[in-house]
């Protein structure tokens, strides 16, 4: 009986996946808040996007939402790719102008 | 708990199932390294290795393997140890994992997933990262330069590869390599030709040419072997590796070559289908025909290697971005139009 209960608790369900995504999201938040390197912040954003994707797919898998979650997750991935390309182009431009990619030192609006 | 117990006998079967491609890769790598030397020798009017073993030095690669096993495993003092050790294994794991969706014969495929080709392309893109990892962790400028060149090259050539594969997928209407192969059974094209996809649509011929050029670049073969161009970069990202770690890199390269050749054989030349219809068909002959088709492509790669000189980096990128990518997309649209009309 006890084994059965334990089994049902440890059997991965919706909440397990959501927990993983919550931890991933907070780690991404930590990176975004505490890092001062643009690329590290970008990595933190990627972590948060992945956490959001896990959520979408988990709801799509465990509730009767059908494939809409997959669809949104797909567009998130597409958006992440576009974002990374543009962000890195910006980072290279910033580096070219300021010779640094530390966010605190990039404070001018006009370079 | 009961389920855990019931899954136990499943594990040996799983391991056996997974070991089949590994065996094929290892045997192939031994044969291919020997064959590469032989082809090189004959093209240059030499004999190649003749000493080890009996006939034509057939045991040369085995002797080399034994030598490599005995070699000292050197890790540079300033290297990033964990990533340095990890990179060759990740590279081999990536090429090995991709074999899961290759239908070796009508009776054997590692995993019958519906997104076969897509999975294969996704997994092989991990190769790029392991190359960067090895090159960066060595803490050597040649390694890093070779790794960056390799990454740029592989990322660029992934685009035409995917575009040409998409052309085939569009004609075949499936991502599952087994289904694509089954579609090509029979000998009805023009009355005598096998139903291979390359004969089905004229734009698939141009697609195959572009696919072949792209896989030459993806598997770092001459004339696109810039990542390890020995005359400029010592050995590229492999410079600091020795012994079995280097052997893993080599094994991964040869496995990658075989993988992409087998992919080409599946997509364009009918996979395990016999070229003579029902003659010599069946699971075992299917395996024979499949490997034969793949190895012919591998042989052509070797032949090209000993014929053509190496391109420059800018020429390499120009070929990809100026010619292959636009052409492959135009080709994709034209193939789609052909399918719509006929």
């Amino acid at each position: 009986m006890g084994i059965l209960i334990l089994n049902s608790i440890f059997q991965p369900g919706l909440v397990h996946f959501l927990t993983v995504s919550a931890i991933l999201f907070s780690l991404g938040l930590m990176a975004v808040l505490s890092k001062r390197n643009v690329i590290m912040v970008l990595m933190g954003v990627e972590l948060m996007l992945n956490a959001a994707n896990i959520n979408l797919l988990a709801f799509s898998r465990f509730t009767g939402l059908g494939l809409d979650g997959h669809m949104i997750a797909l567009f998130v991935v597409i958006m992440a790719a576009a974002e990374a390309a543009v962000a890195l182009a910006i980072v290279l431009n910033v580096y070219n102008r300021f010779k640094t990619i530390n966010l605190d030192e990039i404070s001018q609006l006009r370079g | 708990m009961n389920e855990t117990l019931s899954s136990m006998p499943f594990l040996p079967a799983l391991l056996l199932h997974a070991a089949i491609p590994l065996t094929i890769i290892l045997v192939y790598a031994l044969v291919a390294i020997w064959a590469e030397r032989k082809v090189a020798g004959f093209i240059q009017d030499r004999l190649g290795p003749m000493r080890v073993g009996g006939w034509h030095g057939w045991a040369q690669s085995i002797a080399d393997l034994l030598k490599l096993i005995q070699k000292e495993d050197i890790i540079p003092a300033d290297a990033s140890r964990f990533w340095f050790k990890f990179a060759p294994f990740m590279m081999f794991a990536a090429s090995y994992a991709a074999f899961a969706v290759i239908p070796f014969s009508s009776g054997y495929i590692g995993s019958m997933v519906n997104i076969g080709v897509f999975y294969l392309l996704a997994v092989t893109s991990v190769l790029t990262l392991s190359v960067i990892m090895g090159g960066w962790a060595s803490n050597n400028k040649w390694s890093l330069l070779g790794a960056m060149r390799s990454a740029a090259q592989m990322v660029s050539y992934e685009v035409p590869t995917i575009a040409t594969v998409l052309t085939v997928v569009l004609v075949a209407g499936s991502l599952n390599l087994m289904e694509i192969t089954e579609l090509q059974s029979g000998n009805d094209t023009l009355g005598f030709l096998p139903n291979w996809l390359i004969f089905q649509n004229p734009f698939l011929i141009t697609a195959f040419i572009m696919f072949f050029i792209s896989i030459l670049a993806e598997s770092h073969r001459v004339p696109f072997d810039l990542p390890e161009s020995e005359s400029e970069l010592v050995a590229g990202y492999q410079t600091e590796y020795s012994g079995m770690r280097w052997a893993m890199f080599m094994l991964a390269e040869y496995a990658d070559m075989l993988l992409l050749s087998l992919l080409g054989a599946t997509l364009f030349f009918g996979g395990w289908n016999s070229p003579f219809g029902d003659f010599l068909a069946g699971p075992f002959w299917g395996f024979f025909w499949f490997m034969l088709k793949g190895l012919v492509l591998v042989f052509v790669m070797m032949w090209i290697r000993w014929t053509l000189p190496r391109y420059r980096v800018d020429q390499l990128m120009a070929i990809c971005w100026n010619i292959l990518i636009p052409l492959s997309f135009v080709n994709l649209v034209l193939a789609a139009l052909w399918e719509m009309i006929f």
Binding site: I39, M43, S60, L67 | -
Partner: protein
């Protein structure tokens, strides 16, 4: 526990552990390589969620594309020698507190959500269904996404060409 459960825990551990390395590592390149494990772990979790197509997309786009871009960015913007990719960390305590609070809040909300759970059969034809949806319900979004990618590519190319002009001066 069956095989799927074991796999879930293994990959969840890999994902979260390597994400922690990404956040707490002081070397950017190590962080980027660890991010690869995170992304692969997430891809494995996608597979466990019956999203095979998205798992492959994740590998192809994130590991084969974005991560390589990030590494290129790191290599092109770092000063000094290869092993010396140190980066500054600020506000560790407030940031840590905030993220722990976020994690606790999220987990609390998720576990007390009272979700209506319906058992779904294992999906096998996600690719086919996704394709059909892309061409019907999500056609506009699909086109907008394509335009977004086009704009992003053009923007990136324009910016990097200006970059090369600047460096030539």
């Amino acid at each position: 526990m069956d095989l799927a459960a074991i796999l879930f825990y293994v990959f969840a551990l890999v994902t979260i552990g390597s994400a922690a390395v990404v956040v707490f590592s002081r070397n950017i390149v190590h962080a980027a390589f660890s991010l690869m494990f995170t992304l692969m772990g997430v891809a494995a979790l996608y597979v466990l969620l019956y999203a095979d197509f998205l798992a492959a997309t994740q590998l192809l786009v994130y590991v084969g594309g974005i991560l390589i871009l990030i590494l290129f960015g790191v290599m092109l913007t770092s000063q000094g020698y290869t092993l010396n990719f140190r980066e500054a960390t600020v506000n560790v305590v407030p940031a840590g507190l905030l993220s722990v609070a976020a994690a606790i809040l999220l987990i609390y909300a998720f576990s007390t959500g009272g979700w209506v759970i319906t058992e779904v059969d294992e999906r096998t034809d996600t690719v086919y269904d996704l394709g059909m949806m892309l061409m019907t319900d999500y056609l506009l979004v699909f086109i907008v996404a394509g335009v977004l990618l086009l704009v992003a590519i053009i923007g990136a190319i324009v910016m990097s060409t200006r970059l090369s002009v600047n460096t030539e001066d």
